[in-house]
Amino acid sequence: MSPARPQVLDVDAVIDDPQTKIIVCCGSGGVGKTTTSAALALRAAERGRKVVVLTIDPAKRLAQALGLDELSNEPGTVPGIDSTGDEKGELQAMMLDMRRTFDDMVHTHAAPDRAEKIIANPFYQTISSSFSGTQEYMAMEKLGQLTARGHWDLVVVDTPPSRSALDFLDAPQRMSNFLDGRMIRLLSSPARAGGKGLRKIVGAGFQLFAKAVSTILGGQLLADASAFVQAFDTMFGGFRERATKTYELLRSPGTAFVVVAAPEPDALREAAYFVDRLSGEQMPLAGLVLNRTHPVFAPLSATEARHAAENAGSSRLAAAVLRLHADRVDLADREERLLNRFVGAHPDVPVARVPAVAGDIADLDGLREVGERLAQPGGESASPEPARKVHHL
């Protein structure tokens, strides 16, 4: 049926390997990254590792399940971990508080009076709360901090719900460029800054542009921005150095990227872009998690089932069972077709299919179930895995 069999992603081998220090879950929005991160972290902890999971924006009930009732920006212990390994594992979880992470970073890098000045600047409010990319940068920053602390032997990171999975890699650089004072100096005093060479290239156009920008944005905004960047300048070296260090960390062999996708064309397309990008940047890819698949549990073709349903007139239940089975076969076929397209273009990427858990994941048992499914490759097998009851709150 399927022309290319994907290689199997052995999730347990990844999380059990003591060399795996960081797992980054990435993918486009709505594919289940946060749940996957939490399930991986829980499974690793229950198999004996000391794990911290950094989530970005967990659903309320998942947050409660992880003991994240309050936003604290510091890891807290997740109660109810059932560690079975030889070593006693532990799990801590935290939710990223972007603003506080930024504040902390400013305090770390700048002298107290200067730090206050930066934080009080109105422009800082904009950049620390609504600049697209701040969340990505701060996730990286927090990852760096957690790793540096050395308390955990595995850090699992969820990534922000960007419009594109690539943003996670691009945002820090963009932010770095933005905070580099060159452009703001050009805009606030184009006549003096930028050097003769540059002025020669853009000529009077730049002066006009600067004037237009200042007309549109208003003098106050530019003045605030300029004051901000000047104050920031002194800590900028540390800032950039830090970003570079985290980037290097992501490229180190101890990191494993897990690309998460749903069996939908858009999500798989994003996943493909991301995989290409990772290999381009020589970043270590563990594999693709294809989330929420619908494997068929009974070897009966859709045609046969629909045909029989026509003749099952007297038994409404049997007719319904046959029709829902036929739909499921069609759905599974579609999912396999979509996956095959991906595998055809990326034959070397190991894949784990994760059959959909019906209902919402609302507690640790739900996460354990997802963990089981993650670790059990071959969700496409036709043997019925008895439908396990998932707990609902």
Binding site: P265, R316, A320, D327
Partner: protein, 342 residues
């Protein structure tokens, strides 16, 4: 209660803003809506503003330039044009109108100056994008609007209200100048009956929660919600009274076996077990979808919302599927003009 279909007040809208939580399929829904609204000889424009090239992907074509061009022919002779707005190009275009930048524009862009300016004031970016959309809506040719409707594939719900709240964005910018004047026109359009904001959702917990929050936020910002578009609706096959017991794992395997036998299928026990397991999962899904649908119906502020449904399509992931979705919308009344019968 939400009502199904396409009420007369939506038929009068010229700008259809389509948003939704990430992963709900808003670009596909926007494309289907553009096709449905173009059918019967009309012309629509489908616009994207996030630089994702989502339209090109949905229509399976090469990336779109910053230029309106025909992307599909609608059933009954209409056409859909598409435009991927590039914010930096829009800003340069803008400056070009008021200040002569000449060749410097391209150099500035290469240097990152344009991106820098739009980053400095995120509101500026949104004002430029909505400004371009407004220009498309109000453009005329020989006294007639060029487009019967403009469909905007807007940012996801998380950023939607900030994006549309141009008034707020303008308060960040200088109080005078050409952009300011244009923005006032945008505010008029967005808050008028000529605009409707549609929200795409799945019948799942998180998307429904986000949809309801957005309905509230839109109302607070005085923006009109049009329809809730429920995407990927799947068939439910079980008799209603069987859903709850089956969702709790109670499916009478003996009855299933007997029923199958009467239909001429004599299946071994493990196959029956597999079918029963599938039935339980189906029932759990149906039950949670009903619960999600009930939340959507019961929430305050959703009383007057129209509700449209798009089926989950199993056999196609291509352009043909898009036409099927457009037909599904047409069958629910989309594109019916005021006073005409469906």
């Amino acid at each position: 209660m939400t009502s199904s279909g396409w009420p007369a007040e939506l038929a009068g809208a010229r700008l259809h803003v389509v948003s939704g939580k990430g992963g709900t399929g808003k670009t596909t829904a926007a494309a289907a809506l553009a096709l449905a609204l173009a059918s019967g000889g009309r012309r629509t424009l489908l616009v994207e503003v996030e630089g994702r090239q989502g339209i090109a992907q949905v229509f399976d074509t090469a990336p779109l330039p910053y230029e309106e061009r025909r992307i599909a022919v609608a059933p009954g002779g209409g056409e859909v044009r598409a435009l991927a707005v590039d914010v930096e190009a829009a800003l340069l275009e803008y400056f070009e109108m008021f200040y002569r930048l000449g060749m410097a524009g391209r150099t500035l862009r290469r240097m990152g100056a344009i991106e820098f300016a739009t980053t400095l004031a995120p509101g500026l970016r949104d004002v430029l994008l909505t400004g371009k959309v407004k220009e498309c809506v109000s453009r005329t040719e020989n006294g007639r609007p060029v487009y019967d409707a403009v469909i905007l594939d807007a940012p996801p719900t998380g950023r939607l209200v900030t994006f549309l709240d141009v008034t707020k964005a303008m308060s960040e910018l200088a109080r005078t100048g050409p952009i300011h004047n244009q923005a006032e026109g945008v505010v008029d359009l967005l808050h008028s009956p000529r605009t409707a904001v549609h929200l795409v959702t799945l019948l799942e917990d998180l998307p429904v929660t986000e949809t309801l929050e957005t309905v509230r936020e839109l109302a607070e910002a005085d923006l009109r919600v049009g329809a809730v578009i429920v995407n990927r609706v799947r068939e439910q096959w079980l008799p209603d009274r069987s859903v709850a017991p089956a969702a709790n794992g109670r499916v009478d395997a003996g009855r299933v076996r007997a029923g199958l036998a009467s239909a001429g299928l004599d299946l071994p026990p493990d196959v029956i077990d597999g079918l029963v397991a599938e039935t339980v999962e189906h029932a759990v899904r149906v039950a949670s979808e009903s619960a999600a649908a009930a939340r959507l119906e019961a929430a305050a502020g959703t009383e007057h919302l129209a509700r449209l449904e798009l089926p989950q399509l199993l056999d196609g992931v291509d352009l043909g599927a898009l036409y099927e979705l457009a037909e599904a919308l047409t069958a629910q009344g989309v594109g019916t003009t005021v006073g005409a019968s469906a």
